[in-house]
């Protein structure tokens, strides 16, 4: 059986669903970052697959962009996370309520 576009897209969708579930369920900030990484990379897979399918490099360029953005996001996010941990001693989402309306 040859591995075609559909397989990649199914994989991407499954990963996206896992990521989404993680974003909803996780109470730990670090794990939340993992979940968002899964989300972003599921999209990257879809981009790369479609790009290959059409023989157009634009999609892959986009995937690279996303990787770069994801890296910087994690860098900033982890920095903030460490500061938060130093101040409060935990990274539990339930305690982050300072923006309550």
């Amino acid at each position: 059986m040859e591995i075609g576009l559909n397989h990649y897209l199914v994989l991407s969708t499954i990963l996206f669903a896992i990521g989404l579930a993680g974003v909803i369920k996780r109470k730990n900030l670090l794990l939340l970052f993992f979940a968002t990484e899964i989300l972003l990379n599921s999209v990257n897979i879809a981009f790369a697959a479609i790009s290959h399918y059409y023989g157009d490099l634009t999609g892959q360029m986009f995937a690279f962009f996303i990787i770069a953005i994801a890296a910087s996001e994690v860098a900033v996010g982890l920095g903030l996370l460490i500061v938060w941990y130093k101040r409060h001693g935990n990274i539990d989402l339930e305690t982050m309520k300072s923006m309550r309306g």
Partner: protein, 642 residues
């Protein structure tokens, strides 16, 4: 020439704006002096314009300052014209206002709003100049509204008095009603002629059918009725006497109230095409002349008596204008402005002397302490009564002659009878104030004559009230072309002499009767017990024919009740309720959805996911709809066919 025109027009505006700078500061005499000087400048420019028109024979000075409105076919410029009619009005306005400004420096001496007074008064002069100088109906309307506004501000000048604010609002609202008619008239002019310029519109009027012209004439005249306080919109003028006396002299005697007459004279080419409306105007004028004079007979308020006499004289002017004797109307307007302003300023002196007492029954014998005021008011009253050789004789008798020569004998009779009444009530007032016992002593008032400079300021009016008659011939020759005037000649000389002498004797008898009745030692302050005061006629006249009562009872009160209903039912229950309802829904939604903003990051993320899913499903739905739109249309048309 144009420079003179602009100076005449804008000097009052500068004066007003200058005075307005000091409205919140305490009294500064120089404000009044500078305002008077600027108005005097305007007077000098007007005189030069008049000289150039009379001596150099210039037809008119016509300028177009700038475009005001130009859209499509509508073109209205700020155009000003100084021709023989408007220059006459400008002379009256600037001369009387110069005098009133100077007089006011003395009269308003003790008033803490001295500066504000001059700001309003000069603003009034500017509006009046715009009114008379404009070369189109739109500009006239601006001036018309401007004088209305300034009149409001000046009647209600002492706004801490409830009666003054009430009178100011009454005047403004009454004029508002009439202005609606005037606006409709102006719209009709534009609708039918396509222009608002006098020249252009008059040209087209000649080709219109009489029915249209009649409507235009009627609606424009409704505006004139309001401004000139003709029946049934007359009640505001007597109440307007709440304002300071110089205001009454300038606005409610000499200038603003004559704006209606000016409108009719200015539109003479219209009204000469529709003699039926003219006859109506003349009849109404004659009626108002008699009607107002009868109310003046019994009134016990000095200023109101003079106000009714103004009303009555306006009736004379309309009678003349309605009969087509436009130049006579204009001449009476000019002469009336002089002696009536004089009379009012004299009354102002008396009021000052008597500490704002207005009831002439409480005065008496003032001629000893106020000799000059006495002379001035007597001469003004003689002029008003139309005694030879004072101004009123020439103007009023010409109106009578015109009515006689046009064979309108009813109007003639009414006007003649009114002339007798005019003489009677004017001299009743003079006799009560200046002759007889010194009744004021009971009330512990020590009267004094007005400042000398006030009397000097009044003297030009005194001279004009005496000699304005000699201007009749030159005035006629100046105006005859533009107003297509002709002199009124009674065919037989005998008839003419009988009329002249008869009128004089009749008027003189009325004056003597007034003196005999009111200039004696037996006059007492009426206390409502005498037989005459309880007679029906006296009460009827004293209560102004119960017209104010009627308006209050049958127009104002039902209107107020209707307003109450609309406020409680329509406004509160429908409009307010719907607006509040919408606000309430939004507010309630906000209140309920506030719980979403818990500040908890994972809850927010969940909402984000929900939003994402909703948007995605919407996109899918729209995409499907777009793809299958044809099928959907078929299904819906099938539903409609069922």
């Amino acid at each position: 020439m144009e420079t003179l025109l602009y100076i005449a027009l804008f000097a009052p505006l500068v004066s007003s704006m200058f005075s307005a700078l000091f409205t919140t500061t305490p009294k500064k005499t120089f404000v009044g002096v500078i305002a008077s000087l600027l108005i005097f400048t305007s007077f000098v420019s007007t005189s030069l314009l008049l000289a150039s028109i009379v001596i150099n024979g210039n037809e008119s000075v016509h300028v177009e300052m700038m475009t005001w409105m130009a859209t499509g076919n509508l073109y209205i410029p700020f155009g000003f014209i100084v021709d023989k009619v408007s220059v006459t009005m400008m002379m009256v306005v600037t001369l009387v206002s110069t005098i009133v400004h100077i007089y006011s420096i003395g009269y308003m001496d003790h008033d803490k709003s001295f500066n504000r007074f001059f700001a309003w008064l000069s603003a009034f002069v500017f509006s009046m100049m715009v009114l008379v100088m404009s070369d189109n109906y739109a500009g006239l309307f601006i001036g018309w509204e401007g004088v209305g506004l300034c009149s409001w501000g000046l009647i209600g000048f002492w706004f801490h008095k409830e009666s003054a604010t009430w009178a100011a609002n009454e005047a403004f609202i009454m004029n508002r009603i009439a202005d609606l008619g005037m606006l409709i008239g102006i719209f009709l002019v534009y609708w039918n002629t396509g222009t608002l310029q006098y020249e252009g519109a008059f040209e087209v009027f000649k080709t219109l059918d009489p029915a249209t012209l009649t409507w235009i004439g009627i609606f424009l005249f409704i505006g004139a009725m309001g401004k000139s306080a003709q029946f049934p919109l007359h009640t505001w003028l007597a109440d307007a006497m709440e304002g300071p006396t110089p205001v009454s002299a300038l606005i409610h005697a000499a200038t603003m109230v004559t704006a209606g007459v000016y409108l009719v004279i200015r539109s003479n080419e219209l009204y000469s095409l529709i003699p039926n409306v003219g006859l109506f105007i003349a009849s109404l004028g004659a009626f108002v002349a008699l009607f107002a004079a009868s109310m003046a007979l019994v009134n016990r308020d000095m200023k109101r008596i003079i106000a009714y006499s103004t009303l009555s004289q306006l009736g004379y002017m309309f009678a003349a204008a309605g009969l087509g004797a436009y130049w006579v109307a204009l001449f009476h307007l000019v002469a009336h402005a002089f002696f009536k302003a004089l009379l009012f300023l004299g009354a102002g002196n008396v009021m000052h002397a008597m500490h704002d007492e207005l009831d002439p029954f409480k005065m008496g014998g003032l001629k000893k302490v106020m000799k000059w005021t006495w002379i001035m008011m007597t001469i003004a009253s003689l002029a008003l009564a139309g005694i030879f050789p004072f101004a009123g004789f020439f103007s009023k008798d010409t109106i009578l002659e015109a009515a006689f020569a046009e064979h309108h004998f009813v109007i003639y009779g009414v006007l003649l009878f009114t002339a007798g009444l005019t003489a009677f009530y004017s001299f009743r007032l003079v006799a009560l104030i200046f002759h007889g016992e010194e009744r004021y002593k009971i009330f512990g008032i020590s009267p004094h004559e007005a400042y000398r400079f006030m009397l000097v300021a009044m003297s030009p009016l005194l001279i004009l009230a005496m000699i304005a008659g000699v201007l009749q011939e030159p005035f006629f020759h100046m105006i005859e072309e533009i107003l297509s005037a002709h002199e009124y000649h009674i065919h037989s000389h005998t008839t003419l002499w009988i009329m002249l002498v008869g009128t004089q004797v009749f008027v003189a008898l009325a004056i003597l009767y007034a003196y005999k009745k009111y200039a004696n030692a037996f006059i007492k302050v009426p206390d409502g017990t005498s037989a005459i005061e309880n007679s029906f006629v006296y009460k009827f006249l004293y209560n102004q024919y119960y017209i104010p009562y009627f308006y209050e009872e049958y127009l104002v009160k039902p209107y107020r009740e209707l307003s109450d209903i609309f406020w409680n039912k329509v406004d509160m229950k429908i409009l307010d309720a719907s607006v509040d309802g919408i606000a309430g829904i939004i507010y309630g939604t906000g209140e309920k959805t506030r719980a979403m903003q818990s500040g908890n990051l994972s809850v927010m993320l969940r909402w984000m996911v929900v939003g994402f899913v909703v948007l995605l499903s919407l996109a899918v739905v729209f995409g499907l709809t777009a793809r299958y739109s044809e099928n959907i249309t078929v299904i819906f048309s099938g539903l409609g066919a069922m």
